[in-house]
């Protein structure tokens, strides 16, 4: 019994660290609707700054001052990012701010290595709390007890701020109804900056408080951001109390789960999230969001390509098909990679732009396609059969994921797809007998004509063109109109007899199959499949390509994919600081093209025609 009590206490300490980060994320989302991908980067910055400050400031007093100063400095950096970057893109379509924070995250990972060096840094222990305290027959670190007390203290302080200060009242009002608060004459600008800084302060504090127990390193951000987001979603977006309860839930389930299944940490948080979302579609303490007002709608009505534009598109494809005449084998392989990623991005765009369904786990279908193709090859099938096999497996996955997902909406839906992808990822990772685990499946090289760089490129290009045509036709078919009706006004769509859930489900399957085809091509391009085809970074890549291209367009992802992928490949070649440059590039593009590259260009074009 004693042991279980001690394990419970230990779980509470883990929960406290998780809560600090998650509460900040939740606050920021609640008010500004920003999916702050950079929250992990701020957590990391807090830890690095705390390291430097505690090394400089001497004495026990200096140590604690250093931790708090680090959090304050991080909050200052956060406020700066908000004022200089995010303010410029609040008017952009939903989720576009995510792209900006993603750029900041990429930069941060390289910047901390440049500033603090590549080695892990071990900070000093917390003065006064170095040792352990005997409790329940186990020695519990005094620092853990401090964290256990700190969690509820921060929760209480946040409650006081939110309920007993004018700032808090405004924050709650803005969480409830942003437009109304603005209409009443509240300066939203500084409210947003204040909330963002407060949220980042909590992230920085969370990072700084890891100093006595962790090693400060340049991968800290990724180790925390996804889990923090999961906690926020389980708790209910915007709910600080929810974040607290969810952090305790996840940490305790982990502490006791590993006693039965020692490998469960890999996927536990996602399993919990999936289970919670199936039962409670808005998290434990979240409330149903008011129906979105017509703000995310495309600026112009979509039209199928006219004769001129259609001819131009055909010419463009023809020009691309001539590439083998001038390009060498390496350039062709890169071009094939860009083309298949364009297909992948287009499939997500269909889901996001036409269906209004955001997926944070689109790699699930890409990876299923890749593994489907690999299994088919292992079963002795040739490439022409393995490609559709990959697409089929992905479509089946989409049938399963879509069935659960279409019951949800907004970020909850997006996070459920992420959970689906992560569960698949950990399956591929763990099921070594089937997938080879992280050593992957090798030797999938195509033979014959498709085995030549030019042949493979032309095949990929042809499938991209076919996928593009198919997805566009779908978007402009009666089905597509119904899907768009469900996106723009779900209640009215249902009222005129559209089965909203069903047509959304079909959108998942169509997008899943297209992504699966891209994944199957990827398996043959690389001759191998690894679990990272299912992993979060690939899902983010897809999201970045769509947002960069323009979420308000039908096929802007094509341009986003070409721009992002070619920049990424080129930068990897040119510099070890590719993340820094790519991140900066994204930040610049975000500011220059607030509706995405294709979206902004199309706007300009339309305006000129009107003028």
């Amino acid at each position: 019994m004693d042991f279980y009590a001690a394990q419970f206490l230990t779980g509470l300490a883990s929960a406290a660290s998780l809560f600090l980060v998650a509460s900040g994320l939740s606050l920021i989302f609640g008010v500004t609707r920003i999916v702050n991908f950079a929250h992990g980067a701020f957590y990391m910055a807090g830890a690095y700054l705390a390291y430097t400050l505690t090394e400089r400031l001497s004495g026990p007093f200096g140590y604690w001052v250093g931790l708090v100063l680090a959090a304050l400095l991080t909050a200052g950096i956060g406020a700066l990012v908000e004022v200089l970057l995010l303010r410029r893109v609040y008017k952009a379509p939903e989720l576009f701010q995510l792209l900006a924070t993603f750029g900041v995250t990429l930069m941060a990972e390289d910047l901390v290595v440049l500033v603090w060096g590549p080695d892990d840094l071990i900070g000093g222990r917390a003065p006064g709390l170095e040792g352990g305290v005997l409790l329940f027959g186990q020695r519990i670190p005094a620092y853990d007890l401090f964290l256990i007390a700190l969690g509820p203290a921060v929760l209480g302080a946040l409650w006081l701020i939110l309920h007993r200060t004018r700032f808090g009242v405004l924050v709650r009002a803005a969480t409830e109804d942003r437009e109304m608060v603005a209409a009443l004459g509240v300066d939203q600008k500084w409210l947003f900056t204040g909330v963002f800084a407060l949220g980042v302060f909590l992230a920085g504090l969370g990072g700084a408080l890891q100093l006595p127990r962790d090693a400060v390193n340049h991968a800290m951000d990724l180790s925390v951001i996804v889990e923090a987001f999961v906690v926020v979603v389980i708790g209910g977006l915007g709910s600080v109390l929810g974040a607290f309860v969810a952090a305790v839930l996840v940490a305790e389930l982990n502490a006791f789960g590993i006693l039965i299944l020692p490998g469960v940490s890999l996927v536990l948080a996602f399993l919990v999230m999936a289970a919670v979302l199936v039962v409670r579609p808005h998290g434990l303490f979240g409330r149903e969001e008011p129906a979105p007002r017509a703000v995310g709608l495309p600026a112009r009505l979509w039209r199928p390509l006219g004769r001129t534009a259609g001819t131009l598109a055909l010419l463009a494809v023809a020009a691309c098909a001539l590439l083998p005449l001038v390009a060498g084998p390496y350039a062709l392989a890169v071009a094939a990679e860009i083309a298949l990623f364009a297909l992948f991005a287009l499939s997500l765009q269909f889901l996001m732009s036409v269906g209004g369904l955001v997926s944070f786990g689109h790699a699930a279908f890409f990876g299923l396609g890749a593994y489907g193709a690999a299994f088919a090859v292992q079963a002795g099938l040739p490439m022409p059969a393995a490609l559709p096999a990959g697409a089929l497996l992905a479509a089946l996955g989409a049938v399963a994921a879509g069935w659960f997902a279409v019951r949800l909406s907004g970020v909850y839906l997006a996070m459920l797809t992420l959970a689906f992808a992560q569960i698949l990822w950990s399956t591929a990772f763990q099921w070594v007998a089937l997938t080879g685990g992280d050593n992957g499946i090798l030797g999938l090289w195509p033979s014959g004509l498709a085995g030549t760089p030019a042949g493979f490129y032309l095949l990929t290009l042809a499938l991209l063109a076919a996928g593009l045509v198919a997805l566009r036709r779908l978007a402009f078919a009666p089905y597509g109109y119904a899907l768009r009706a469900a996106r723009d006004a779900p209640a009215r769509a249902a009222a005129v007899g559209i089965d909203v859930g069903r047509i959304r489900w079909m959108a998942f399957v169509a997008a899943g199959a297209a992504a699966g085809l891209a994944g199957a091509l990827f398996a043959f391009l690389k001759g191998s499949v690894f679990p990272d085809t299912l992993a979060i970074p690939l899902s983010i890549d897809a999201l970045v390509m769509v947002l960069l291209g323009g979420v308000g367009t039908v096929s802007g992802a094509l341009i986003g994919a070409v721009a992002y992928k070619s920049a990424a490949v080129w930068l990897m070649r040119e510099t070890d600081l590719s993340k820094l440059v790519l991140g900066a590039l994204i930040v610049v593009l975000v500011v220059a093209f607030p509706r995405g590259i294709a979206g902004t260009l199309a706007d300009l074009f339309a305006r000129r025609r009107r003028a």
């Binding site: 590549p118 670190p141 090693a215 390193n217 060498g328 001759g527």
Partner: protein, 394 residues
């Protein structure tokens, strides 16, 4: 500094390809520079040092085209393809992660390019997934497990527990260690196992779960930030008191140094005690390295240095850049490493580079290895019959 600047020029590819009296041989190099700078920075310095020495010795000059793989197999393949198809390199070398190494090895087989894997530890790269084009420098996972299991068998402990990262490296390290230990000590039982995700160790609950099983000895395979968390939390919670700990890689400066005065004491580890190896070969290397960079080498430096020396030796012996000739030259070739002479075996293309096994201690506020001995890799490699069974026929 001369060779440093030269190497920098070579990396940037500014030296160009203009026909000179002797056109240089191009080597394509790939590693996880942006993902694992703590290991790959010293590694890069190591091969740059060796490159300078090789080119200073005369003969046909060697030029290196180096690429970052971002820690991902797919990106490594893009880089490999660029180096082979566009730069026309004579051979590929490098890589850190096992899955990246395997992906590049598979590419090498497909394109019939010579590949010298520097760091990947998985057994598969020379055994179950072995291929004629691929050679590997570092002692494999199994070899290091065997070295540690040999020491572990001497401990009185009978009840063992393991903590290992939840991926192929951790899983196979524990599996091989168990297998070898049980052969020597049939009385050993395993009472607990924890598999935290790599990089995300939640130290408190994991340590309590291990302690609850009351093991007499602990096998640790975590490294990097996870190791730091394990050590700090474990010390506070008294996990290591009265228990023996056997730990993979912990004696490598990359992982031991950051721990400073919190480094664990008395752990049986593999590693690289650069401060106390008094062989002439190592002293010469140490002096040259410190002179070139003003800092001491890490294990990555030795790996980078030796990989480059081996590549140069293979090129010199082959006398051509034809892949078949390179494979023939590499099989059975002897190379002088800072750890002493090594041989690349013909049967499985694995080098006989070994590792140092010793105990950790704290000296002047820093973690060090003491009572260590060099274990020659040749003594821990599978014999020919075993290899024939495990490795696909060429």
């Amino acid at each position: 500094m001369r060779h440093l600047r030269l190497a920098a020029l070579l990396i940037l590819g500014l030296a160009g390809h203009q026909a000179q009296a002797q056109e240089p041989i191009l080597i394509g190099e790939i590693n996880s520079y942006s993902t694992l700078p703590a290991f790959t920075e010293p590694y890069r310095k190591g091969w740059q040092l060796a490159l300078g020495e090789v080119n200073a010795a005369g003969g046909r000059p060697i030029e290196v085209v180096s690429r970052d793989d971002g820690g991902k197999p797919a990106q490594a393949l893009t880089a490999a393809n660029e180096l082979v198809a566009r730069e026309g390199v004579a051979l590929l070398m490098g890589t850190f992660f096992s899955n990246v190494g395997l992906a590049v090895a598979d590419y090498a087989k497909r394109r019939n390019v010579f590949f010298l894997a520097a760091e990947p530890l998985t057994d598969a790269i020379t055994l179950s997934q072995g291929n004629p084009e691929t050679f590997r420098l570092r002692p494999s996972n199994s070899m290091q497990a065997a070295m540690l299991a040999e020491e572990a068998a001497k401990l009185p402990a009978k009840r063992w527990a393991s903590i290992a990262p939840n991926y192929e490296y951790g899983q196979s390290a524990v599996a091989v260690f168990k297998q070898i230990l049980v052969e020597k000590r049939p009385d050993v039982e395993w009472v607990a196992a924890q598999w935290p995700p790599q990089g995300k160790l939640d130290a408190g609950p994991v340590i309590q779960a291990i302690a609850a099983a009351k093991p007499e000895a602990i096998l640790n395979v975590t490294f990097g930030a996870d190791l730091a968390k394990l050590v700090r939390e474990g010390e506070t919670r008294g996990l290591f008191e009265g228990r023996s700990v056997v730990s993979f890689l912990t004696g490598e400066p990359e992982y031991l140094e950051p721990l400073g005065d919190e480094a664990p004491e008395g752990w049986i580890v593999t590693g690289y005690p650069w401060y106390a190896i008094d062989t002439p070969a190592h002293e010469a290397f140490l002096e040259a390295y410190e002179k070139a960079y003003g800092e001491h080498p890490k294990l990555g430096s030795v790996v980078g240095y030796t990989t480059m020396k081996a590549a140069a030796a293979i090129l010199a012996r082959a006398g051509s850049t034809d892949t078949g000739a390179l494979i023939k030259a590499a099989e059975g070739i002897g190379v002088d490493s800072p750890f002493g002479p090594i041989v690349f075996r013909a049967v499985d293309h694995q080098s006989t580079l070994g590792a140092f096994v010793g105990r950790t201690a704290i000296k002047d506020g820093n973690g060090v290895m003491v009572d260590f001995a060099y274990r020659d890799g040749a003594d821990y490699l599978p014999d020919e019959a075993e290899v024939k069974e495990l490795r696909p026929a060429d």
